[in-house]
């Protein structure tokens, strides 16, 4: 098939768009960084892309709440185009700040784009530490449905966020996410075992690090996969070179899913 197009959406405060574009290119995408004002001028710019990526950063400074203002802007200026995009069976990836945007816009968990109901069931809030933290963690892929991961894989990636604690309104919402196989990534031990001690870096319920929508084609995660696409990005490569770059794998799976 032809090289799939990835649109990396950027705006004021986006700051992981370049390395995300680079990672996408490594994975075989034809990636393009586009400012949201260009998309608002011409919403059908989305139609040419098969993958929409909302990269990491501090969109609009994370003022009010992380990802909130960009989510608000998308809902009020791009709702139609976004609905069209997700219904066209394409892929959406929200990384770190992008995950926060997907959650606060309602695209996750239920693929909705209605300001009135957005983020009513789940949100990403302040880490228990109350602080931004940058460190490497382990993740376990727990979903068969999610197009970006392979169930059972144990993945090494860094986290770098202050508002990454995933919580749901109540137990019913959590059960629904579980029963619909939407819990794509959980923090875990190096061996893939359950979290103990401080392995869960932010206090997320059920150690959740990433979720997808019921179709598995809209995916958001806190740890940025573009930060592990070459061996020397790994914190202990001077001890032993990693065989695989887990972040690159994730982009490759997205490529295969198209």
């Amino acid at each position: 098939m032809a090289t799939p197009k990835a649109l990396v959406l950027r705006t004021a405060g986006t700051n992981c768009d370049r390395e995300t574009e680079y990672a996408l290119t490594l994975a075989g995408f034809d990636a393009d960084r586009v400012h949201i004002l260009r998309v608002i001028e011409q919403p059908d710019a989305l139609d040419d892309a098969q993958l929409l990526v909302i990269p990491g950063g501090f969109s609009y400074g994370d003022d009010v709440a992380a990802g909130k203002i960009l989510a608000n802007q998308m809902l009020h200026h791009l709702a139609e185009a976004l609905t069209r995009f997700v219904q066209a069976d394409k892929l959406v990836l929200g990384i770190c700040n992008g995950f926060q945007v997907l959650i606060k816009s309602g695209l996750l968990p239920w693929a909705a784009t209605d300001p009135a109901t957005a983020a009513r069931d789940a949100t990403l809030t302040w880490n228990d530490s109350g602080q931004f933290v940058d460190r490497w963690i382990h993740l376990r892929a727990d979903s068969d449905r999610c197009a970006f991961v392979h169930k059972g894989d144990v993945i090494a990636l860094p986290i770098a966020h202050g508002e990454g604690k995933f919580v749901t309104r109540d137990a019913q919402v959590l059960d629904r996410l579980r029963s619909q196989d939407q819990v794509a990534l959980r923090y875990c031990g190096a061996d893939g075992g359950e979290c103990t001690g401080t392995l869960n870096p932010n206090g997320s319920v059920d150690d959740i690090a990433g979720i997808c929508d019921p179709t598995g084609r809209i995916f958001g995660l806190m740890p940025p996969p573009e930060r592990f696409v070459t061996p020397t990005q790994h914190p202990t490569w001077t001890r032993q070179k990693p065989e695989t770059c887990d972040g690159l794998q994730m982009f490759r799976r997205a490529r295969q899913a198209l």
Partner: protein, 964 residues
């Protein structure tokens, strides 16, 4: 009207911020405090229906899952504290909220924000006051209210032009000094007289803006007149020892000139020093200080410090993209009792918390990894904390040279708007601080808005690559006054100040000209490209406005407000009129040997104490708050080892993602030695920075260095004396190591006058930052022990001196000024040999020996690798200076001595001979092996362990100090 909305935690998922306040209040000794409730306050000035206000609160401001909201004021459930920003202080959240409300299609005039705290439990009014002032609010930028407060409607204040003339021609010397003082000009009598003569010749008096322009341009901060002055050096008997013309030209510049390396593109002429990276790219590096602002408002001071240095690479050549930040801090003792902190000084712990959050919030939001740094503590930094921020930039190789504005180019101001913030920053930072500065100079402090800078950066790079401007510089100290004055130095400039976009009305033409409001840059744009350029900025919602033209018939600087001329100066006088009097320096060195400490059976205790000493202890609490991996180029992180929490010697980044080439960043600094022997201290600083570079696999022959001098008041001959010693050392070191200086900055007058009239000067503090370009990051090594059974070598010779060592400090022993002498030429040979061994792949781990010497380095290498070390001092190479054999070296000197030019190196047994060959002729000794145990054991000459500790205990001691 104004609608008040309160947002508070719903309580179902906790409230970390309220918890944080509770914990810190308890630290302050408010034991009766049971709980803290926190609310964010939003005030919407707009004609909105109740339903619309409800909708904004529900859909925009409150998180539906974790928060609840109140429209109006909820009854207080405890002692109330509200914190509101003073009028005119930058409020990024308010700006973003206005944008978001507009996105919702609702009307909005203005938004202001505040914070509300309710203290539950038994809290006296005095305690509430204490919590408000010491923890929650800074009087410099915020007001505290103990009842619900509603900010007044923002009415646009009008400004009517009134040109102020300052009578100067008739003033006597006393009058001139008074004028300088009352106008916060910080100019001395000679300088005031030069200005007086100039206007006497013109036969008129200056306007306020002309005087301000001269004061800004001639400020210590902007021209470094001390470092550029001629120096007469005397010894303590008053005998003239040496006359040095233009100190900086004779030392730092001279070294670079003599070395004349081919890979330097631009040195000491632009906002940052520029060197080759590869055939497509160049890298530039600049390190700045922002000390005075950080002393009175740590968060704002530090964030605008980093924001300012980030604009230096952006304003170098045709503009570079920032790719890495470094930060080095000096604070007073964080464990100092509150009661001992002098009036007008913030507690060091509060300063440290504020500075770290300031750097974190600006650097992280800009998306620039903060990869390397250091923190030092000393009582003398109490009134003058030091905040060094560095930024590495990447630019196309052919855009590295400094550009000047061309005649006819439009002057375009881009980025943030201009307000009253930061007025007199340059002159303020050129004077001494007093206990009254907290209030006097609050207007010199600014709050940054990183997103404004990031937006501006995104467009600048696009405009640069489209070739839309011919020159660029940043608005830093002195604001437009410095930026336009410098760009138009040779062609002149005509500026229309009424065209500058303002944050709020009411600024005078002079305030607009000298404001140091953040996130602004100035471009020189060819007329035919103006429209395209303005369109680029408009397309990403960044303000860009033409405020004048470069080039006047007589190359003068002409300032207008509307059609009214408000100022006119000759560029020649502005830039060359500053008198350069000879500065007096007094220095002499009388050796004071350290009293020999008693020998001891075992030194494990001392090792644990040094590991826990604030200067040595783990800085993980700081490092993890910084994003050190954004941009994807991270190759060697600040923390290394099997559990990623050991100390690295230097950071390595890969700024071009599809290239294996990297940049090594390292620092060296030793204020303790600075007080004992400024010359040796400077050599130590250079050696340490280069030692760190080499330790991770850097290339000495592609290493450039930067100097940052922070000194006391150099109008005092003794301070100037030590300054001269350090400058001479910089020259000697740069030549010996063959590493050119490419950029630098000095911050003098770091002295504090307390309310009791006592003056505290900082220790002579020289920061050396090193940048090395390497071919392949895959060849780098880290400091953590890798493999049991590997051999451990010490490279470099250990001297008998203990002067200035951490050992003496932690044991409370007297120190002389016999600091270990540095032999740069010799150390350079060691570095070259070790560099070769690393390039040949013979080194598994390498850690430099600095604070705490061999024992500390060994402990760090061991616990970082999770492996034991078994070492013996018998094979330790020693220096040749007057000692026959190890037996005459104090055990403490062998273990903790801080001689320069030394490393601890791990080598696989099969590489022993190759390693020995690579180090032929270099003092080195195989002192032991890596073991499969959890112990560090160091045996003395009698084979008995002088150090014996478990890795767990060593690591715990190292990590405990800053577990905040």
């Amino acid at each position: 009207m104004i609608h008040r909305i309160e947002i508070r935690s719903a309580g179902n998922f906790g409230d970390p911020h309220a918890q944080g306040v509770l914990a810190q209040a308890r630290e302050l000794g408010v034991s009766g405090l049971q709980a803290v409730a926190f609310a964010r306050l939003f005030f919407l000035q707009a004609d909105l229906s109740d339903e619309q206000v409800q909708r904004i609160a529900r859909e925009l401001l409150a998180d539906p899952v974790t928060e609840t909201f109140t429209v109006g004021t909820a009854p207080a459930t405890g002692a109330l504290i509200e914190v509101h920003l003073k009028a005119g202080v930058m409020d990024p959240v308010a700006a973003s909220t206005e944008k978001a409300i507009a996105d919702m299609g609702l009307p909005i005039q203005a938004v202001t924000t505040g914070r509300r705290y309710e203290l539950r439990g038994t809290v006296s009014d005095a305690q509430r006051e204490l919590i408000a002032r010491r923890l929650l609010a800074n009087a410099v930028i915020e007001d505290v209210h103990f009842e619900a407060f509603a900010p007044p409607e923002q009415a646009a204040g009008a400004y009517t032009l009134h040109v102020t003339t300052v009578p100067i021609r008739t003033l006597d010397p006393a009058g001139l000094e008074r004028l300088s003082q009352q106008g916060d000009l910080f100019l001395n009598l000679t300088e005031m007289q030069a200005i007086q003569d100039y206007f006497r010749q013109l036969d008129r008096d200056p306007t306020d803006i002309e005087l301000e322009t001269l004061a800004q341009t001639w400020s210590e901060h902007c021209v470094h007149k001390t470092f550029r002055s001629d120096v007469a050096l005397y010894d303590e008997c008053g005998t003239l020892v040496q006359e040095i013309p233009n100190l900086i030209k004779s030392t730092v510049f001279a070294a670079t000139k003599e070395l004349d390396v081919p890979w330097c593109i631009s040195v000491f002429e632009d906002n940052a020093g520029v060197v080759d990276f590869d055939d497509r790219w160049a890298v530039c590096f600049k390190v700045e200080t922002h000390n005075h602002p950080s002393a009175i408002e740590p968060y704002g001071g530090a964030s605008t410090g980093i924001g300012g240095v980030i604009r230096d690479p952006m304003g170098t050549g045709l503009g570079a993209r920032p790719v890495a930040n470094t930060d080095v801090f000096c604070f007073g003792p964080v464990d100092m009792p509150l009661s001992d902190v002098p009036a007008g000084v913030l507690h060091p712990k509060r300063v440290m918390r504020g500075v770290v959050s300031g750097v974190r919030d600006y650097g992280n939001r800009m998306g620039i990894p903060t990869v390397n740094g250091a923190v030092y503590f000393d009582e003398k930094y109490l009134g003058n904390p030091l905040v060094f921020c560095g930024t590495l930039g990447l630019m196309p190789r052919d855009m590295g040279r400094k550009q000047r504005a061309r005649v006819g180019d439009a002057i375009v101001a881009v980025g943030g708007r201009t307000g009253r913030d930061g007025i007199h920053g340059a002159t303020f930072s050129s004077g001494e601080l007093t206990h009254a500065h907290e209030t006097q100079f609050s207007h010199a402090v600014q709050i940054g808005n990183p997103i404004t800078e990031k937006k501006m950066l995104d467009v600048l790079l696009a405009a640069r690559d489209a070739g839309l401007y011919s020159a660029i510089t940043d608005c830093g100290a002195g604001g437009f006054s410095s930026a336009v004055g410098e760009m138009g130095e040779h062609v002149g400039a005509e500026v229309h100040l009424d065209r500058v976009p303002l944050k709020y009305a009411g600024l005078s033409y002079a305030e607009i000209w000298i404001s140091e409001a953040q996130e602004r840059m100035v471009l020189a744009v060819p007329q035919e490209k103006v429209d395209t350029l303005l369109a680029h900025f408009a397309a990403e919602d960044v303000e860009a406005v033409v405020i004048g033209t470069f080039g006047t018939p007589d190359a003068k600087l002409r300032l207008f407000y509307g059609e009214t001329p408000v100022g006119e100066l000759d560029m020649a006088f502005l830039h060359d009129g500053l008198p350069r009097p000879t500065k007096k320096a007094v220095y002499s060195f009388t050796p004071r040997p350290t009293p020999t400490p008693a020998e001891r059976e075992n030194y494990t205790d001392s090792l644990l104490k040094i590991l826990a000493a604030p200067n040595v202890a783990s800085k993980e609490w700081i490092i993890r708050q910084y994003d050190h991996e954004v941009q994807g180029g991270s190759a060697l992180k600040p923390l290394v080892g099997v559990t990623e929490d050991g100390p690295g010697d230097a950071a390595v980044v890969r700024p071009v993602l599809d290239s294996p080439k990297g940049v090594v960043l390292a620092v060296g600094m030793n204020p303790t030695l600075g007080e004992l022997d400024p010359y040796q201290s400077a050599l130590h600083a250079v050696d340490e920075a280069l030692r760190n570079v080499v330790a991770v696999g850097g290339r000495l022959d592609r290493t450039a260095i930067l100097d940052n001098f922070c000194w006391g008041n150099c109008n005092k001959p003794d301070r100037m004396g030590s300054f001269v010693q350090a400058a001479k050392a910089c020259y000697d070191a740069a030549l010996a190591y063959r590493t050119p200086f490419i950029s630098g900055k000095d911050s003098l007058n770091n002295e504090f006058k307390t309310d009791t009239g006592e003056t505290i000067a900082i220790p002579p503090t020289l920061l050396i930052s090193a940048m090395s370009v390497i071919d392949d990051v895959a060849g780098c090594v880290s400091s953590d022990a890798k493999q049991a059974g590997n051999l451990v070598f010490v490279v470099g010779a250990t001297g008998p001196q203990l002067g200035g060592s951490h050992y003496l400090r932690v044991e409370g022993l007297a120190s002389g000024n016999d600091v270990p002498p540095v032999d740069p030429a010799d150390n350079r040979r060691r570095m070259a040999a070790l560099e070769q061994a690393i390039r040949l792949g013979l080194v598994r781990a390498c850690h430099d020996l600095s604070e705490g010497g061999l024992a500390v380095a060994a402990a760090e290498m061991a616990f970082a690798g999770g492996l034991g070390l078994e070492l013996s001092l018998e094979a330790l190479p020693i220096t040749r200076d007057g000692i026959e054999g190890l037996a005459n070296v104090h055990t403490a000197a062998m273990l903790f001595g801080e001689s320069a030019g030394r490393w601890l190196v791990e080598v696989a047994p099969e590489n022993r001979d190759a390693f020995a060959k690579a180090l032929a002729g270099i003092p080195s000794g195989q002192i032991g092996t890596v073991t499969d145990t959890d112990r560090l054991i160091i045996r003395g000459l009698n084979r008995k362990p002088v150090i014996d500790a478990t890795l767990t205990d060593l690591k715990a001691a190292w990590q405990r100090t800053f577990q905040w």
